[in-house]
Structures are given as C-alpha cells and as structure tokens.
Symmetry: C2
Subunit: 193 residues, 2 copies
DNA sequence: TGTCAACTTTACACGGTGTCAAGCAAAGGA
DNA sequence: TCCTTTGCTTGACACCGTGTAAAGTTGACA
C-alpha cells in the first residue's frame, strides 16, 4: 500500500533521473518516463501532478541519495583560502551529477513559474555556500579589497553556475578535472588578495 | 512589390525585436509578432518558414542596424591589456541590446537544431573577439603563464557569456556599469600576469 | 463478501507551431 | 480593358506534449 506507493514513486524518480542524465536534460517526455518506470503515463500524474513537481521531487531525491550535505561538510571545516578551494571542488564535482535534472529545470524556467522557483531555491543554497567561503576569506583578511562580501559572493556564485560548467565542459570540451582546477585558480586570482 | 516585400519583412523583424526586448525573450508567440507587425499570422510564415528562421533573421538584422562591426573596431586598434579592457567593454555593452533575441534563441536550443546552430554561430564570432584579445595579451608578454591562448580564450568567452550577464544583472541586481567594470577587473586578474 | 487503494485504459481539452487551400485587392503589361 | 502576378488574408486543420476526467481492473485485507 503505502510501501507500494513509495516504491512506485521512487521508480518514477529513478527513471526520471536516468533518462535526464542520458539525454543531457532535454527531450524527455512524461510518457518516456512512464515507459522507463514500467507504468502508465497517468500513474506518473498520480504521484506528481505536474512536470515541475516531478523534476523538483527528483532533484530533492537525488540530494538525499547522494547525501549532498555530508559531501560539502569537508569544505566547511577549512579556513581562508583553503576553504575556497575545497568549496569550489566540492560543488564543482557535484554539478555533473545533478546536471540532467538541472538542465531540465532551467529549460522550464521561462514558461513555468514553479520550475523557476524550485531551481532558484536550490541555487540559493549554492549561494550560501559561496557566501560562507567568501566570509571565511574575509575573516582571514584575504578578501580582495575591491569587493564587498556580497559582490564577491555574486561573482563566485556566477562563476560556479551550471551554465558556466556546461559551456566549459561541453562547448569548449574541457575535462572535469580541468574545469575544477581552472575554477579554483580563477576564484583565487579574482577573489584572494 | 519587392520593396513592399522588404518593408513587410522588416516590419516583422522590428516587431520581433521589440516584443522580445520588452518580454526579456520569453512568452512571445508567432501570433503576437504578427499582431504587433499589423499583419496576419500566416504572412509571417510567408517570410520566415519557422520560428528559428525568424529569430536568426532578426538577430542578423539587429547586427546590421546597430553596426556591430564598427562598434567593436575601437578595441581592435588597442594593444595588450588595454585591448582586453576595451573588448570586454564593447561586447559587455552590446549584450543588453541583443539580449531579448539571444534569450529566445537560447531557449529554443534544447528543442530546435536550427536555433542551436544559429546561436552557436553568433557565439563563435564572440569567441573570435576573445581570442584576438587574448592573443594581443600574449604578444605583449602579459598572458598569465598557466594558460594557453586557447584555454584563456575559453575562460574569457565563458566569462562574457549572455548567461553570466543575466545572472549578475538580473539575479544579483547589478547595474550595467557595475557589470562591465567587474568583468574587466576579473578578466585582468585572471588572465593578465 | 465487500471495500479500498493503486494502477490501467481510453478519451479529450488546450496551447503553440506549422501546413494547406481558397480568395481578394492592387499593380502592371498586353 | 482584361489578365496575370504578387502579397496578403481567412479559415480550417494536423501534430505534439501537458494535463484532466472517468470508468474499469486487480489484489490485499477485514
């Protein structure tokens, strides 16, 4: 019953995850997801009223499975410049895992208010991570004097955006490790005095 | 006849431009454009077979009207670091003018091959501008030694992307002048040794 | 035996893009 | 003057993907 319910719900989210990962986040229809989950299209709507609900549910589910909090914990313990490096690395290496769902949510932003809100909410969490890293820099007296904490946070957050990652990884053909080290260097060069 | 033809074509592109500018690049339908141009929806399809054609046609038209080549000429004459600053400024101040159409093309990329190709083509031109600025830096012996010309070009190009501009201007609420000077500084800090 | 919950099947509304075909009005040439 | 061409209009319709609605099936459990 309720366990069956949960199992189906999970099957749907796993199918969504898998398909979006394979497709790079586009061209995945509700019917494709239903088929991949081995249920009818209507059953998907029984669990997720709209596409945006399914996407945000899946995103939440992924964070849960991948245990995002724990993975970002290491960077929280470090200080100053080191903390910046660790944060960029932790988040930078998380992007590929959420990219499919992220791409789909980003694409829906223009037309769907709920999708926009969900994605903004998640990006706000990333912003907090950026802010913490910048504040640590400031505390260590190493923040580039030209920037306020807020400005530096904005810059770091924009630098670490999924869009930037997509550009460098796919359009420029960079490897994931090249991406991470370049972002670390760029963040250091731009924000550390 | 032929002049009438051209006039209508231009009316359509002007209407497209205006509506996309007003809306920020989303939620503009073919029927909206037709209405704004004062003609029937079918007449639009007589001049532009698909939405992607209309968008790319309008983008080209805008470059023509705004005389993009001339505006970027100044930066081409400068040398070394100065050239980088001028390039960032010239392109950075051009973004707001093309943003509406750009946003619409970006949104279509996921589903429409032609839109993707058109936008990539235009961004390739920007990349050339970035490459020229980086090469000038290299010639002056001021390019950050860690980067090859290609890597530095990729970074600068990603930094100057429309997506980055949108994030800082709208999501972070920066002014256009704040955006330009921050990008200049960031490009200098990251790419100049 | 009966009921409830989860799921299936079928059908349909809606919005946006793109197609098709018939018609109309004005310009221009014979 | 008539006829053709050109540029546009009008109206209908196909297609696709999302989301809704309703009736029917199946299995668990009391």
């Amino acid at each position: 019953m309720s366990s069956e319910n949960l199992e189906t719900r999970e099957k749907i989210m796993r199918a969504t995850w898998k398909l979006l990962e394979e497709s790079g986040g586009s061209g995945v229809r509700m019917s494709d997801i239903a088929k991949a989950a081995g249920i009818s299209r209507q059953a998907v709507y029984l669990h997720f009223p709209t596409r945006a609900d399914l996407l945000t549910g899946t995103a939440r589910y992924m964070d849960e499975v991948r245990n995002i909090d724990e993975r970002l914990a290491a960077s929280r313990k470090a200080k100053g410049t080191n903390r910046l490096d660790l944060w960029v690395e932790a988040w930078g290496n998380y992007i590929p895992e959420i990219h499919g769902v992220g791409r789909a949510l980003i694409a829906m932003r223009d037309t769907d208010e709920a999708a926009a809100a969900a994605w903004n909410d998640r990006m706000q969490a990333v912003r907090h991570g950026c802010e913490a890293a910048v504040t640590a820099l400031k505390s260590a007296g190493r923040l580039m004097p030209d920037y306020s904490v807020e400005q530096a946070t904005d810059l770091l957050w924009a630098l670490l955006s999924v869009e930037m990652w997509e550009k460098l990884r796919f359009e420029c053909g960079w490897s994931q490790t090249a991406y991470v080290s370049a972002m670390q260097k760029m963040a250091r060069d731009s924000l550390v005095s």
